[in-house]
Each structure stands twice: as structure tokens, then as C-alpha cells.
Subunit: 255 residues, 2 copies
């Protein structure tokens, strides 16, 4: 996998649940994961969780039901819904409020355009963002002229604005990922790795939780081919989405 | 839900992760869950895990690849594979050995017929069993004359035989479940509840981990209709399987 050529995969993945592994991708929040017993869990009774992002998060949700938390139509059919259904049926699940406001095709600047009504007004306690694949894909398609610098600058501004409006929010940055199949060819690399590195840099800078989806999928292709996880290389199958939900839950609940 | 009419749902579900809630479904293993810090986790580096059961576990696995652990074809497309993929890509995942030997249509006596080659010889450290829906369904269809007593007696004998051959195995009994849709009609009740109660009784008797799938789905139908989780009421959709995997992982990892 060209997308992880320079990163030791196993230690990278483990860095989300244990302190000690050094490097670019170890964020402040992860450093505290080993001290779980003294930390306050990110998801507690009464927590409001918001999933934000592009089509991978959207996953066919009913936009006209976006104001109704906790119900499948408004949460879609992807990793966000799968993680939500696990939380809702788990301990204290009925006390949670979970929204999904991902929109297909979104890049960072499009999140920013709708951030007041689709994030800040909801006052999430936990805000999970997965964004980046369109920021490179639409450029490769000639539909967009933003660069990795645009991505990082726009993303930083969005996070700053969020922290100012919601100083106590637990931020969760999900690593952008692709599988090497379908629409994803060699033209994506090494450019895509730079987008991942920018997301990781921001996770460190803002001391967010970091969900290592690319490293997870880099592990997963040992057990099933890339197409099993995402037919077109970008949009996860139910198996890819289920694995993402599981890793999201493990990472956020251990943060 | 007739299937859980006599059980307080929320406390039932929570009984798998915290001691305190009393009653039929609280097993010895669950009592120790609150003392996690001093207990040895069921799944450690090097653990061999075996999933056993019927079609819900089988989920289209390639029977000729049943001897190859950890790969998707031999593990199928259901909750067992989804739980396995999460474990395999998680911490110490590459040290695990995970098999699936579920077979569609199986009742308890058919597990017993193939137990030497499909369980004991594999020497699992963790053995997860989900069995029971065919024991009632085939009776309702007139294909089988076993009763709930047959189920319980056969299941007890199988567990005794397992404990004698593998005294250190961690047993995981999964609660048989149905959704109220598709093939599942009023004729199933209250008979089905007795099968669930027998499985729970055995979990207590053998101090196994207990995975409360029926109570999980009884919670889940608040958030999406029964058909979303299992179109025919018996065989989970990818959403049902993903939720099962998540609950299986949370329960077994907290046991």
C-alpha cells in the first residue's frame, strides 16, 4: 500500500489505544488514553454526538429528517449509523442524542458554509469529522483547484471556529482513507498521503481524538481484498462501514 | 415485544456489563465484570476464538476454507466475520486465530454430531455458541419433534462435554433471538421465550459469558423497524450483523 509506505503499520494502529509510540500521528488526546481510569469518558450519559463529513458519513441519510436524532432514516446506512446503533442499544444509550449531518460531495469549505446550522446550533459534546477524500478527488477530476494547503488551512479555520463557539467540545478527527481499487489509482499517490498527514497534524495541534481509518484498512486488506471493504475504493461496503464503526467506538470510548 | 414481556429491558441489557441487576439472566461471569481491573481478559494476545452455530453464524462462509483462520471467505459475511475483522485489525490482532464453524440449519444435536472435528480439535480459548432458532423453527414447520426440553438437555450435554475436554475454555453463550417480522409470527410465542430462558439458564449454570442479543434487538427496534435488522425476522441484515458484532465485542471484552 503506497498510502502507508512510510509508517510502521502496527505501531501506528496501536497508538490510538496506548501511549508510547511516537511520531506524527500521536496526538495529545492519545497520550492520555493509557490513563483511562482517571479520565472522564468522552461519551457519558446525556452526551450529544454529531457526525460530520461527506458521502461516507452521509450514506443515504434522509436530509428532511436531519433534525430527528437517534433514528435510522436521519442517520443513514453507514459507519455513523452503525456506531450510533451500538451506542443507543448499549449502556445509557437511551440518554444519548446522536445526529448525522454529513453531505455527499462535501469538501472542507462546504462544511464551513453550513457550520452554524449543521454543527454549532446543535451544541454537540462530541463532534466527529471525516473529510478530505473529495478535496483530492475533485481536484484529480479537474472539478476543483484546492490543494493540500487549502485543505489544511480551511480545516484549521473550521476547528478554530468550532473551539471558540464550543470550548468544551470533544473533537474527533477521522483519518481520510482510500482502498487501492475501483476509482483509486496511482494518480492519487503520494498526494493523498499529504492530505492524511494534514489531518493528523491538525489532530495533534487541536489535541483531538484521532481515528486511524487508513491504518485500519491497511491492516484489513490482509484478511479480505480491498473490494470487500469498498468497491470503488472510496465508499465503504457494509463490511467496511461496520469495521469503521467498531474502530470509531473503540477509539473514542478509550480516549 | 412478546419476546421480552416479562423482563425489564434496560436492566436486562445492562446486566452484561455491570453487576447488581438480579434475576434469571445474570450469570456468574457477569458478576465479575465489575471487577475488570483484577480479572484476566477473555481475549488476550495469542487467543484462539471459535464461532459456532447455525445459519446466522455460518452467513455464507466457504466450507472448504474452514481450516484457514482469519480470512474472510472462511469466516462468512455475518456477525462472526464482523467481530473478527474488528479484533484482527485491533490491538494484538495479528496474534489471534479466529475460526467460524457455524452451519446453516443446525440444531444442538447437529452441533454435537460434529463437535470433535468442528470444535474440540481446534482447542479454542474462547468458544462462542449461538444456537436455538432452528430448534423451534423446524418444530413449527413440522420437520422436527424436539421440544425445549430436548434443546436444554442436548445443550447441557454439549457444554459438559466441552468443559471436560477443554477445562480452561471461556464459554460464550449468545442469546437466541428473533425480530417480529417476516417468517416470525405469533405462533412462535411464548414458546420462543422458553428457548431463550433455557439458554440463559445454561449460561448461569456453566458460568459463561452471556451475550444478550434478544434484549439488544428489543432496544434496537426503537431506532429502526424490525425489517431493518432482519428482513425475515431470523437472518440479520448487515445492520443487524454489525450491531451483533459490536455487542458481542463489548460483552466478551468486558467479561
Amino acid at each position: 500500500m503506497g498510502s502507508s509506505a512510510n509508517v510502521p503499520r502496527r505501531s501506528f494502529l496501536q497508538s490510538t489505544v496506548a501511549a508510547g509510540a511516537a511520531g506524527l500521528f500521536l496526538t495529545g488526546k492519545e497520550s492520555t488514553a493509557a490513563e483511562k481510569s482517571s479520565a472522564t469518558p468522552a461519551i457519558q450519559p446525556g452526551t450529544t454526538i454529531l457526525f460530520q463529513g461527506d458521502s461516507i458519513t452521509d450514506a443515504g441519510r434522509k436530509k428532511d429528517q436531519g433534525d430527528t436524532p437517534n433514528k435510522q432514516p436521519g442517520l443513514g446506512n453507514g459507519y455513523a449509523w452503525m456506531a450510533a446503533s451500538s451506542l443507543l442499544t448499549g449502556p445509557d444509550g437511551s440518554s444519548l442524542t446522536i445526529y448525522n449531518r454529513g453531505i455527499s460531495g462535501n469538501k472542507v469549505h462546504q462544511l464551513a458554509d453550513r457550520w452554524d446550522q449543521d454543527c454549532l446550533v446543535l451544541k454537540p459534546n462530541v463532534l466527529s469529522i471525516l473529510i478530505g477524500v473529495n478535496d483530492i478527488w475533485h481536484r484529480l477530476n479537474g472539478k476543483y483547484d484546492g490543494t493540500v494547503k487549502t485543505y489544511e488551512d480551511d480545516y484549521r479555520a473550521l476547528l478554530q471556529r468550532t473551539k471558540e463557539a464550543l470550548p468544551d467540545v470533544t473533537l474527533v478527527i477521522c483519518e481520510p482513507f482510500v482502498l487501492r481499487c475501483g476509482a483509486v489509482n496511482d494518480k492519487w499517490f503520494p498526494e493523498f498521503d499529504k492530505f492524511r498527514a494534514s489531518a493528523a497534524k491538525l489532530a495533534k495541534e487541536f489535541e483531538t481524538v484521532w481515528v486511524p481509518f487508513q491504518s485500519m484498512f491497511d491492516e484489513a486488506v490482509q484478511y479480505a481484498p480491498p473490494e470487500h471493504w469498498a468497491g470503488d475504493g472510496v465508499h465503504p461496503s457494509p463490511f467496511g462501514a461496520s469495521l469503521m464503526a467498531s474502530t470509531w467506538l473503540r477509539t473514542v470510548q478509550n480516549a
